[in-house]
C-alpha cells in the first residue's frame, strides 16, 4: 500500500525531488522572458580584431547584443584572497571583465552575448556574429609558461601569479633536516585536473523593476549573499539593497557554484536595458569550458626519515594552475587550504611548502570538493607509501609510528595549524577491523587463482574545514569574513521559521537543521522549517562550501536558539509571576523550578505576539533572534581508509573490489546524511584516481569537453562502500562538537586507490613506484610493459 509522501522515512527535501516538483533555476519561467546565449572564443589566446554584430542584429527575434565594449566602465570579478610572494610582493591580479575585451584568453571565454525572444533565435544570431581574432601561441604547460616570453596577461609581464612559501621561516630548518637525514624519499606527481560536473548546469535569470530600481537574480549558487556582494561591491555597483539574489533548488555544486561568473552580471545588465527578464542556461559543453575546474598541481615532494622511520621533514615544491583569470577562491586553494595541511596526521617537526601559481590559457581553476586538502593528502600519503616500500616497512606501522597521539591535543602542527582533537590510532584500529585486513591474503590468493593481481592500499588523512575564523583568514589574506548567520523566528502559533546563511544543494539542511532547534527547545522538529537561498529572506551568511554548513551555520542556529530560550524564559517568568532565573525548559514546557507551575512553548509564543499585559520596559514583543557565528578554529576531520583493487594483467584495467572509510566527524547529527556525503566524496575521489581527466591539447583546445570524452564515474565503476563514523572525537570549539563531513571522501580516497594499484602491480612482479592519476587501463598497461 503506497504511503503518504511524509510518512516515508528519509529527508524532507526528497518528496519534491522524487515527484519532479523541485524548483531549479531553469524550471522557473517569467512573463515576457527573453533568452541569452553567449559567443565564446574558439581559440585559447588571441587579440580580438573585429566583432561585427550587424548581421546578427538583423536576425529574427534579436533584442540586443552585448560585447566587451559595453562593460568597460564597470568593475571586474575579484579574487577573494590576496596572497603575498616569498619576497613580500603582492600577487598579480589581472582584471576579469564581464565579457572579454581586447583579448580572449581561453577557449570558451565569452566575448559577446545575444539576447533574443527565444534561446533558439539567440543561438542562431550568435552564430551570425562575424568575429575575427589574431591567434597567439597558446600557453598551456605550466613549466613552459614560467620560462617563456608569451604572457596570458601582457600588462603583468609574467605568467607567475605568486611564488608563495609556507612557512618561509621554516625553510632553512627543513632543508637542513633533509640534508642530514638517514633516508629521503622523493616523489614527483601530478594531481590531475578535474571538472566538477554538478549535474545541473549553471543557469542565471535576472529581472529589473524600473519603478523601484530593484533587481532580482535567480542563479545556481552555493552562496547567494557572496554573489550579491561581489556583484554589488566589485562588478556592477548595484546597491546591495536593490539586488536580491535567489538560489532556489540547486542541482549540486562541489565548489563550482561558489563563484560569481560573468554570465550573472550580463543577464542583470540585459534585464535592465530591455526591461524584461533575461535567462541564460548553460549547456554541458559550456559547463566544461567555463565552470571553474579543480586541482591541476604538479608537485615534487620529499620525505626525510631517520634510521628508525621517524619523519623528520616534508618539503614540497608545487606548480598550481590558476587558468586564465583568478576565480574567487583560486588563490586560497593552493596556498592556505593546501600548504597548511602538509604535516598530515604526523608529528613531523619540519614542513616547508613552495607554491608557484601559474596563469595559462585554460579555464580558471578554483576550489573543487576538498580544495587543496586532497592535493596535500595525495602528496603526503603517496610519498609515505613510497617510503615504506623503499624501507621495507609496513605502511600502517610506519604511519602509526608517526601519528599525533591522543594525549597531544591541542597539537600545533609544523605547518601552522592547531589540531583540536582526534585519535588516528583508533581510526586505524577500526578500519583494520571493518576492512578485515586479516582476510586479505586469502582474497589475494583467490584473485590470483583467477589470473588477477590484487592490491591493498591504505591511507590516513586529516583536513581542515568548517572555514573559517575571520581573524585568522584576515591575517592570511582573505578579503571576506567567514562567519555564518541564522535567524530563528518563533511564529505566534508556535511553529518556527529558521532562516540560515548556508545553502542546501544536496546536503539535506532542511532535514538536519530543524533537529538542532527541536532538540534544544524540546519541541517536535516537524513544526520547524528551514529557509535558505534568498537574500531578501535570510541573514547575511557566507553560504555552503568547505564543509562548513553544520560546523559554522549550525553553530549560528544554536546561538540564535539560545537567545530565543533566554527571551522565552523571561516571557514565561512574566506569565508565571516568577523570576526568569527560576524558569526551566524541558520537553517544550517552561516551569518554575520546584513547583508544578508551567506554561507550554506554544503559550509563550502566542503571548510574545499578543503582549497585552507585557511589562513593555522589560520585554519587547515578538520572539525572533539572530546570531552570527564566527568559528574559533577550523574543524579537523580525519580518517583511515582502505581500498582493495584487482588489476587485470592482460588489459591494465583496475576494479575497486572493496573500500572502507572510517572517519572522525566528531558528533554526528544525522548519520544517514553523513554517510551519504562520504559515499559521494568517495565516488568523486575514485573517479579522480581511475577515470577523470581534463585534457587540453598544445593549442589550448579542451579535448575532454563532453561526457563522451570526460569519464564520469558510472554505477558499475564503483562498489558498495563500508563507511563508519563510530570513532568521533568531538570538536572542542563549536557548540555542536561537529566536524565537516562534505569533502572527506574526496580527500581521503585518491591516494588510497593509487596505493592499492601500486601494491597490486608489485604483487604481480612489476616494481612500479608511482603512476599519475587517472590510472586508466592504458596507463597501467603501459607501465607493466616498461618495468
Amino acid at each position: 500500500m503506497p504511503k503518504d509522501i511524509n510518512e516515508v522515512v528519509g529527508r524532507r527535501e526528497d518528496a519534491r525531488f522524487l515527484t519532479g516538483t523541485g524548483r531549479y533555476t531553469d524550471d522557473i519561467t517569467q512573463h515576457n522572458q527573453a533568452a541569452a546565449v553567449f559567443a565564446r572564443s574558439p581559440i585559447a589566446n588571441g587579440i580580438i580584431r573585429k566583432i561585427d554584430v550587424s548581421a546578427a542584429e538583423a536576425m529574427p527575434g534579436v533584442l540586443a547584443i552585448f560585447t566587451g565594449e559595453d562593460f568597460t566602465e564597470v568593475g571586474g570579478n575579484p579574487a577573494g584572497w590576496m596572497i603575498n610572494s616569498r619576497d613580500g610582493s603582492p600577487m598579480h591580479e589581472p582584471k576579469r571583465p564581464v565579457l572579454a575585451h581586447g583579448k580572449v584568453r581561453h577557449v570558451g571565454d565569452a566575448y559577446a552575448a545575444v539576447i533574443a525572444e527565444t534561446p533558439e533565435q539567440a543561438q542562431d544570431a550568435m552564430e551570425a556574429i562575424d568575429a575575427d581574432f589574431e591567434e597567439l601561441p597558446a600557453i598551456v604547460d605550466m613549466a613552459a609558461a614560467l620560462s617563456g616570453d608569451d604572457y596570458v596577461h601582457d600588462e603583468i609581464g609574467t605568467n607567475q601569479c605568486f611564488d608563495w612559501g609556507w612557512i618561509e621561516d621554516n625553510r632553512a630548518a627543513t632543508d637542513a633536516a633533509i640534508q642530514g637525514a638517514h633516508h629521503v624519499t622523493t616523489l614527483e606527481l601530478v594531481n590531475n585536473r578535474l571538472v566538477p560536473n554538478a549535474m545541473e548546469p549553471r543557469c542565471s535569470m535576472a529581472s529589473y523593476h524600473p519603478a523601484t530600481e530593484e533587481y532580482v537574480l535567480h542563479t545556481t549558487s552555493q552562496n547567494p549573499h557572496l554573489t550579491r556582494l561581489l556583484i554589488s561591491a566589485f562588478v556592477l555597483g548595484i546597491p546591495e539593497n536593490k539586488l536580491t539574489v535567489i538560489a532556489p533548488d540547486v542541482g549540486g555544486g562541489f565548489g563550482s557554484k561558489i563563484y560569481h561568473y560573468g554570465e550573472e552580471a550580463l543577464v542583470l545588465a540585459a534585464a535592465k536595458k530591455l526591461g524584461r527578464p533575461v535567462k541564460w542556461t548553460a549547456d554541458r559543453t559550456e559547463a566544461f569550458l567555463t565552470d571553474a575546474h579543480g586541482r591541476d598541481h604538479v608537485t615534487k615532494i620529499e620525505l626525510a626519515l631517520d634510521a628508525e622511520g621517524n619523519f623528520l621533514a616534508f618539503r614540497t615544491e608545487t606548480m598550481a594552475n590558476v587558468g586564465a583569470y583568478l576565480s574567487n577562491f583560486s588563490t586560497a586553494t593552493p596556498t592556505f587550504l593546501h600548504g597548511t595541511l602538509m604535516a598530515g596526521n604526523y608529528t613531523v617537526p619540519n614542513v616547508y611548502v613552495n607554491v608557484k601559481a601559474v596563469f595559462t590559457n585554460t579555464a580558471p581553476v578554483d576550489a573543487y570538493r576538498g580544495a587543496g586538502r586532497p592535493e596535500a593528502t595525495y602528496s603526503i600519503e603517496r610519498v609515505i607509501d613510497k617510503a615504506a616500500r623503499e624501507l621495507g616497512m609496513d605502511p600502517i606501522t610506519l604511519r602509526r609510528q608517526n601519528f599525533v597521539k591522543p594525549d597531544q591535543y591541542p597539537f600545533a602542527s609544523a605547518a601552522g595549524l592547531e589540531y583540536d582533537s582526534g585519535n588516528y590510532d583508533a581510526l586505524m584500529d577500526r578500519m583494520e577491523e571493518i576492512a578485515d585486513l586479516g582476510g586479505f591474503t586469502a582474497r589475494r590468493a583467490a584473485s590470483e587463482a583467477k589470473g588477477m593481481w590484487r592490491g591493498l592500499g591504505i591511507n590516513a588523512y586529516i583536513e581542515a574545514c568548517g572555514i573559517a575564523p575571520s581573524n585568522l583568514v584576515g591575517v592570511l589574506g582573505s578579503r571576506v569574513g567567514l562567519y555564518d548567520a541564522a535567524t530563528v523566528r518563533v511564529n505566534a502559533t508556535g511553529n518556527l521559521s529558521v532562516m540560515v546563511g548556508a545553502h542546501s544543494h544536496g546536503q539535506g539542511h532542511e532535514t538536519a537543521f530543524p533537529d538542532i532547534v527541536a532538540d534544544m527547545l524540546g519541541i517536535n522538529a516537524a513544526s520547524i522549517d528551514i529557509v535558505h537561498g534568498d537574500t531578501s529572506k535570510i541573514p547575511f551568511g557566507m553560504g555552503t562550501y568547505g564543509s562548513r554548513s553544520l560546523a559554522v551555520c549550525g553553530s549560528a542556529v544554536v546561538r540564535a536558539t539560545e537567545k530565543i530560550i533566554v527571551k522565552a524564559k523571561k516571557i514565561a517568568a512574566h506569565m508565571l509571576e516568577a523570576s526568569d532565573l527560576d524558569i526551566e525548559l524541558k520537553d517544550g514546557v517552561f516551569s518554575v523550578a520546584g513547583t508544578n507551575s508551567s506554561v507550554s512553548f506554544g503559550e509563550v509564543a502566542l503571548k510574545a505576539y499578543i503582549p497585552h499585559d507585557f511589562p513593555i520596559t522589560e520585554i519587547e514583543p515578538g520572539l525572533e533572534e539572530t546570531a552570527f557565528y564566527d568559528p574559533a578554529n577550523f574543524t579537523y576531520p580525519s580518517g583511515a581508509y582502505c581500498c582493495e583493487v584487482e588489476v587485470d594483467p592482460e588489459t591494465g584495467k583496475v576494479s575497486v573490489e572493496r573500500f572502507t572509510a572510517v572517519d572522525d566527524f566528531g558528533n554526528v547529527i544525522n548519520p544517514m546524511i553523513v554517510t551519504g556525503q562520504v559515499h559521494g566524496g568517495l565516488g568523486q575521489g575514485i573517479g579522480q584516481a581511475l577515470l577523470e581527466h581534463t585534457t587540453y591539447d598544445e593549442n589550448g583546445q579542451l579535448l575532454s569537453a563532453s561526457y563522451m570524452d570526460y569519464t564520469m564515474p558510472r554505477a558499475d565503476d564503483l562498489p558498495f562502500f563500508h563507511v563508519d563514523h563510530s570513532q568521533g572525537t568531538p570538536c572542542t570549539h563549536n557548540p555542536l562538537g561537529v566536524k565537516g563531513c562534505g569533502e572527506a571522501g574526496a580527500i581521503g580516497s585518491p591516494p588510497t586507490v593509487v596505493n592499492a594499484v601500486i601494491d597490486a602491480l608489485n604483487s604481480g612482479g612489476k616494481p612500479v613506484t608511482h603512476l599519475d592519476m587517472p590510472l586508466t587501463p592504458h596507463r597501467v598497461w603501459s607501465a607493466m610493459q616498461t618495468v
Binding site: 554538478a198 558499475d716 564503483l718
Partner: protein, 160 residues
C-alpha cells in the same frame, strides 16, 4: 510550425512545435513538466529519461514530432494523490538522492528496468544505470534503493 499530438501522463496534449524542438524541450517549455531535467547535450547523463510507449527513452534524443501519437510518461506521472510509488519510496527511505537533479531520470530508468527484470542483481542494476549519471551519491544508495524497491533484502549491505 507543426502540430504534434501525444498522450502525456494519461492526458492527450496537442501543441504547435518547430521541427527542431526536442521532446525534452517540449515537455519542459511546452507543457511545464519541469521534472524532466537537461543535464548534458550528448545523451549521456540520463536526467531527461522518460517513458515513450513503455520504454525508457532520453527525451533529449527525440524530436517532439517523433512522439506523435505516442504514450509518454514523465516523473510527474509516477506518483498520484500525494502517494509515492514503490520506487520513489525506496529512494527516499534509503537516501538514494541528494541534490535531486538526476533523480527523475533515475526513477524512470528504474521503473523500466523493474518492468523487464523484477529482481535484478546488483551487477545487473549497476550495468543498467550506465546511461544515468549521478554526481552526489557514489551510486551506493541508488543501487541499494533499487534492490529494496524490487523486494530484495538489503539489510546486509553496508549501513547507510
Amino acid at each position: 510550425m507543426t502540430t504534434v499530438t501525444m498522450t502525456v501522463n494519461g492526458k492527450s496534449v496537442s501543441r504547435e512545435v518547430e521541427s527542431r524542438t526536442l521532446l525534452s524541450a517540449f515537455l519542459r517549455d511546452g507543457l511545464n513538466l519541469t521534472g524532466t531535467h537537461i543535464g548534458c547535450d550528448t545523451s549521456q547523463c540520463g536526467a531527461c529519461t522518460v517513458h515513450v510507449d513503455g520504454k525508457a527513452v532520453k527525451a533529449c534524443t527525440m524530436f517532439a514530432l517523433e512522439a506523435e501519437g505516442a504514450e509518454v510518461g514523465t516523473i510527474e506521472g509516477q506518483s498520484s494523490h500525494g502517494k509515492l510509488n514503490t520506487i520513489q519510496e525506496a529512494f527516499k527511505e534509503h537516501h538514494g538522492l541528494q541534490c535531486g537533479f538526476c533523480t527523475p531520470g533515475m526513477v524512470m530508468t528504474t521503473a523500466a528496468l523493474l518492468k523487464d527484470n523484477p529482481t535484478p542483481s546488483e551487477a545487473q542494476i549497476r550495468a543498467h544505470l550506465e546511461g544515468n549519471i549521478c554526481r552526489c551519491t557514489g551510486y551506493h544508495n541508488i543501487v541499494k534503493a533499487i534492490m529494496a524497491a524490487s523486494g530484495q533484502d538489503v539489510s546486509a549491505i553496508a549501513a547507510a
